[in-house]
């Protein structure tokens, strides 16, 4: 384990048809840290996450150039793409409870990976729901439909599902949009604990959230990386880049 960086992105360019949504992005994402990505809407943050777990190639019209390595392995050469996706947990802004019971929602990923032992599944479900701060609310109705939970609960269910296959990297894309501040704070606490075990990439549009949680912060604008630095520097009075300063202070964006 010589390499400090978990994910390395080199010269990544992503196109949707003719529009370029990521332009020559290079990033190093360090191990066991929370790496926050901030930037205005439409700047390519979500695309970046999608290209890390290669779900981008399922969308028609997209083309990817450049290299992404995880632990030194080029992901586009990984033959079993499902194995790759199982190592990356992904949470998207809008909560998606699958039309299955709460239990099956969380047990879905292990089952698809071939796990069938009831005892193991029970353990996973309980652990993940606890980690996502949802266990107390749903432990009596694990059989209910996941889609019938409230929006905030569904979002935590989504996080639990993302944790269920014990990912090494957890990507969160503006997870707090659909949930209330109290739950957000609870999940943020969870994230801080989780960083012991995994690398967390946090895309957020709340600058203050990045400041609270991020060890490193990256500012992306219009598909280009403007600045990457430790959070202290980024949010200091002199981040070294006028654009970053303006965005962090809310002058534009």
């Amino acid at each position: 384990m010589v390499n400090e960086n978990r994910v390395e992105i080199r010269n990544l360019t992503v196109r949707y048809g003719k529009t370029i949504s990521l332009h020559d992005v290079s990033l190093d994402i360090p191990r066991n840290k929370i790496f926050a990505i901030i930037g205005p809407a439409n700047s390519g943050k979500t695309t970046l996450l999608k290209s890390i777990n290669r779900t981008l190639e399922l969308e028609s019209g997209s083309s990817v150039q450049g290299n992404i390595t995880i632990d030194g392995r080029e992901i586009h050469e990984i033959w079993n793409v499902y194995e790759l996706r199982r190592r990356i947990g992904m949470v998207f802004p809008l909560p998606v409870g699958l039309p299955l019971s709460v239990y099956d929602n969380v047990a879905y990923a292990p089952r698809m990976a071939g796990e069938r032992r009831r005892k193991v599944l029970d353990e996973i479900v309980e652990r993940c729901l606890r980690q996502a701060a949802l266990w107390d609310e749903v432990k009596d109705r694990l059989k209910n439909l996941g889609t019938m939970l409230s929006g905030g609960q569904q979002q935590r269910l989504t996080i639990a599902r993302a944790l269920s296959h014990s990912p090494e990297i957890l990507c969160l894309d503006e997870f707090s949009i659909a949930i209330d501040p109290v739950t957000t704070m609870r999940i943020e606490d969870v994230l801080v604990q989780l960083k012991e075990e995994m690398t967390i990439i946090l895309v957020t549009n709340l600058v203050q959230q990045a400041r609270r949680l991020g060890d490193m912060t990256c500012f992306i604008n219009k598909g280009r990386v403007v600045q990457v630095d430790t959070t202290e520097v980024m949010f200091s009075d002199n981040p070294g880049n006028q654009l970053t300063y303006d965005y962090v202070r809310g002058v534009f964006g």
Partner: protein, 331 residues
């Protein structure tokens, strides 16, 4: 990444095998899905191929454009002089289609507009169900209705000598093509962006003005497709026209007023195939490779099949292109 070294045990090997079996099954299923996906192309081509195959000897040996398409003389079973002219059959198909569209188009478009814009949700659901039931009635039952119900009715109402004629078949076929016209037309009316309608209504237009000035022009491609599909349906209809047209080779058009005599019996392309297929023997070529004259009847029926295939293919393709327009707008 450091892959933890697994011990090679029986359980591990079993797990590994199981994983591969599952993977293989999945590939197999996905392969099947791709195969079935392209199957409709294969089917369309093989329909053309097999119909063409049976009709090919006729096309090769005795096909003559002028005598085939422009001659009304259809005497396939004449002993001395067999003649295969399908003009009268084309005219029969044409006349039935014209009457059918005269019946179906106004009523179907009216119904579609009513369903899409003028009625409440409950009525809408009920109407759609009824239209669906209309679509479900088998064509042989329609033919039976033409034979037993509308036949005497037409004789009584118009004083025509026989009730089995282009008018009868046209009404029946018209009713049969109502459902498809209604459903496609309603789809295309609903595909008109809500913004257009809201804008028109915000300007104070009444519902009718909105429909007439905004919705119909915006949906005109879809409406055209609906009518075309109706025409395709009418041209291809078989059993109902067999039973309701009276089945006599006759051109119902002439120079006399009113030019189109809907009360005359006719015979269509489809009905000809269905009626004569049973009597026409399939004969093989003789020793010298040429077919006996009796074999031509069977072959010419397949040639008519090709003609029908081509007509409906063109109509459906145009309709499909027109519908594509609205589908894309919807997304």
């Amino acid at each position: 990444m450091a892959i933890p070294q697994k011990k090679i045990t029986a359980a591990n090997i079993f797990q590994w095998l199981w994983k591969w079996i599952r993977q293989l099954c999945e590939w197999f299923i996905v392969g099947l899905i791709y195969l079935c996906g392209v199957s409709s192309i294969i089917f369309v081509f093989s329909i053309f191929y097999f119909v063409f195959r049976e009709g090919a000897p006729f096309l090769r040996d005795c096909f003559d454009f002028k005598n085939f398409f422009l001659s009304p003389e259809w005497y396939p079973t004449s002993i001395s002089n067999k003649r295969y002219g399908i003009l009268a059959l084309l005219a029969g198909t044409g006349s039935v289609t014209i009457v059918a569209m005269l019946v179906a188009v106004p009523f179907s478009l009216g119904t579609a507009i009513f369903i899409a814009e003028f009625c409440k949700k409950k009525t809408k659901e009920a109407m759609k169900i009824v239209v669906e039931i209309l679509a479900a009635i088998p064509s042989v039952v329609w033919g039976f209705i033409g034979l037993m119900v509308t036949n005497p009715l037409i004789v009584k109402l118009t004083g025509a000598p026989i009730g089995l004629n282009a008018l009868n078949a046209g009404i029946i076929v018209g009713l049969m093509s109502v459902p498809i016209i209604v459903s496609i037309a309603e789809d295309s009316i609903r595909a008109v962006p809500d913004g257009y309608i809201e804008a028109a209504e915000a300007l104070g237009a009444t519902r009718w003005q909105t429909v007439y000035r905004v919705i119909l022009p915006a949906a005109k491609n879809g409406l055209l497709a609906a009518v075309l599909l109706g025409v395709g349906r009418a041209v291809g209809e078989t059993m109902a026209v067999l039973m309701a047209t009276g089945h006599s080779v006759n051109i119902p058009f002439n120079g006399e007023f009113p030019y189109f005599h809907a009360l005359e019996s006719v015979r269509t392309l489809t009905a000809t195939i269905v009626a004569e297929m049973g009597e026409a023997p399939r004969l093989d070529a003789g020793m010298n490779g040429s077919f006996p004259a009796e074999a031509r009847h069977y072959q010419v029926l397949f040639v008519i099949g090709i003609v029908l295939f081509v007509i409906t293919f063109v109509i459906n393709t145009i309709a499909d292109l027109a519908v594509k327009g609205i589908r894309q707008k919807k997304v």
